[in-house]
């Protein structure tokens, strides 16, 4: 089901002072694919997403979306094109109830353009649409959870709320920054089908992840970063087999375990 490349990054470089956080990293994602980005802490994964989505200004390099240059556009313009992201440290609106959190993305120019959630045409009541999206993403509609203040929601729901904010924009691609981190095993188990469903709905995903087991279950291709440089890229199996990756990232014990799974 993979189409042509939807998002392409060419030689993205980001220097913080003298430190090269990203050194000429290039990658592309094909339409409908799931690209995993892995790497040790501080290897530049989040910086890469920040550069691509315009949240920080890259030092050099280019980003293309469907062949169109989006380098150095402001973040809201990039989001407006359908390139959405989640934050590793969740960024809900704590003073608002969960469903009211979605009124904000539904108020955006893109949501107004793309019409109602599945409704087509003009948006109905944004509250109702918000609750519908929350239900899709795993908030129980008839419980009090969607109506609770975001400040009182547990991590699992906040991670889902991050995804819901992206979905409210009817995205073409979602860049997920560690959606599985901080979740319990059972919560992760319930998130995986959600990710698979998003892919089936035609949304392209880029996932930064430390939970390799779950990532390799869903990802079509994986890219490995280390010290701001791209180490390798390929299918999960190819990446696993790569000697450089083993040395740089996994350590001897874990690689056995994940290998046996893959």
């Amino acid at each position: 089901m993979s189409g042509g490349p939807i998002l392409e990054a060419k030689e993205v470089t980001k220097a913080f002072g003298g430190i090269l956080a990203l050194n000429r990293v290039s990658f592309h994602v094909n339409e409908g694919d799931i690209l995993g980005i892995i790497g040790p802490n501080g290897s530049g994964k989040t910086t890469l997403i920040n550069c691509v989505t315009g949240f920080i200004r890259m030092t050099s390099g280019r980003v293309l979306f469907r062949g169109k240059e989006i380098t150095r556009r402001p973040p809201h313009k990039i989001a407006d094109m359908g390139i959405t992201r989640t934050f590793q440290i969740m960024r809900p609106y704590y003073s608002l109830p969960a469903y009211k959190n979605l009124v904000i993305p539904l108020f955006s120019p893109r949501a107004k353009r793309t019409g109602g959630w599945r409704g087509g045409g003009k948006l109905g009541d944004r509250d109702t649409v918000g609750i519908d999206i929350l239900e899709e993403i795993g908030f129980e509609r008839d419980s009090f959870v969607p109506y609770k203040m975001a400040s009182s929601l547990p991590t699992g729901y906040l991670k889902r709320l991050e995804l819901a904010r992206c979905l409210a924009l009817k995205p073409e691609i979602i860049l997920c920054d560690e959606v599985f981190s901080g979740l319990s095993m059972s919560e992760i188990a319930s998130m995986v089908p959600l990710i698979e469903r998003l892919q089936m709905e035609g949304i392209t995903l880029v996932m930064i992840e430390h939970r390799l087991r779950e990532l390799f279950r869903v990802a079509n291709r994986v890219m490995v970063l280390n010290f701001g440089e791209k180490l390798t890229e390929g299918t999960p199996e190819e990446v696993m087999a790569d000697e450089k990756v083993k040395v740089a990232y996994f350590g001897s014990e874990e690689v056995e375990e994940v290998m046996s799974y893959a």
């Binding site: 402001p74 809201h76 608002l96 009124v103 993305p105 893109r110 904010r165």
Partner: protein, 337 residues
């Protein structure tokens, strides 16, 4: 080790929960629970000019209303958009000088100068503040504090717009009843208008900008644009106050860039309760008359004034309205731990 044996529990009153939705229409009791506080406020403000003992105190009502507009603008920007504004004097001065120029140079009557000065003044203020809107933090406060000082000095040094004498001979309101009721109606209009606005969808976007501007960017919206809209709304209130002020005093001068217009609204919001909007208005109705009463003490009044402020901050730091709303909507009881 000492441990607390009981704690205070706060619960919403049943009637508060019952009156949230359409069910409030079920009985007179529930209806009046919702309407009585609003009716008391509206009637109380409309009756004020009638019960004031003298012309002097009637004039004070108009001035209180101008401060109330400024306090509303401060409360809205600070607690719903996250911009701490010290720009009361900037808004008053811009609106005031515009209205004075329109009236004396172009001969426009007050019912044209006030709306024109309000809208044009708000556009000018927003334009001046635009460069610091993309920044986060203290910059907005600094810049809003700087403009009134700069403009006041420019007028003084270059001797433009009447220099230190100001612009004299501005037409007054036709009569004092029109003046007072116009001011009171404007305050009520903006008070209920702002309360409605902050709960509308666009109001939620403003609150989201305060809560988490990165997430608003990630939602495909320009935070600078929404901040600019919010500053425009806030400066509309301020410029309206300024335009009315020059027609009340029949004079426009550098003292309209005085810091009183920036500081008193903030103090009033603290006393009234930040984030309630009503509190900001009530705070002005407490603070401004007190400062008038203290005039008899001469320069000592600043001491009394400070004591009252400190007392409020120490004893009721949440503000009168937050306290009042809590008592009205909730009951408290002690429970064993």
């Amino acid at each position: 080790m000492h441990t607390e044996e009981r704690r205070k529990e706060r619960l919403d009153r049943g009637i508060k929960v019952r009156t949230v939705g359409i069910y409030s229409l079920m009985s007179w009791r529930e209806l009046s629970y919702l309407t009585v506080p609003r009716v008391v406020l509206i009637l109380g403000m409309l009756l004020l000019p009638l019960i004031m003992p003298s012309m002097y105190w009637q004039r004070v009502i108009s001035i209180v209303c101008i401060y109330a507009l400024l306090a509303l603008s401060f409360d809205f920007l600070a607690h719903y958009v996250g911009l701490v504004s010290l720009g009361g004097a900037f808004f008053i001065g811009t609106g005031g000088y515009l209205a004075a120029i329109l009236n004396t140079s172009f001969g426009l009557p007050f019912y044209l100068t006030i709306p024109i000065a309000t809208i044009v003044g708000a556009v000018i203020c927003t334009g001046f503040l635009l460069p610091c809107l993309p920044l986060r933090g203290v910059y907005f406060a600094i810049v809003t504090l700087m403009y009134p000082l700069v403009l006041g000095r420019i007028i003084e040094a270059l001797n433009v717009l009447g220099g230190t004498d100001g612009i004299v001979g501005v037409a007054s309101f036709p009569n004092r009843w029109l003046e007072q009721y116009f001011m009171i109606l404007m305050v009520l209009l903006f008070l209920f208008g702002m309360r409605r606005l902050v709960n509308m969808d666009v109001g939620l976007v403003f609150r989201a900008v305060k809560d988490n501007d990165q997430a608003v960017k990630a939602s495909g919206m320009s935070i600078t644009f929404y901040k600019a809209v919010a500053v425009f709304i806030a400066s509309t209130m301020g410029c309206l106050g300024g335009a009315c002020l020059v027609h009340i005093y029949m004079w426009s001068g550098i003292s309209q860039f005085a810091l009183d217009f920036s500081i008193i609204p903030i103090a009033a919001t603290v006393i009234g309760g930040g984030g309630t909007l009503v509190g900001a208005v009530l705070g002005c109705f407490i603070l401004v008359p007190i400062s008038e009463l203290l005039r008899t003490f001469g320069t000592l009044r600043i001491v009394f004034y400070s004591l009252i402020l400190v007392g409020f901050i120490v004893l009721r730091s949440e503000g009168v309205m937050v306290y009042g709303q809590r008592k009205y909507h909730q009951f408290e009881r002690w429970v064993k731990v």
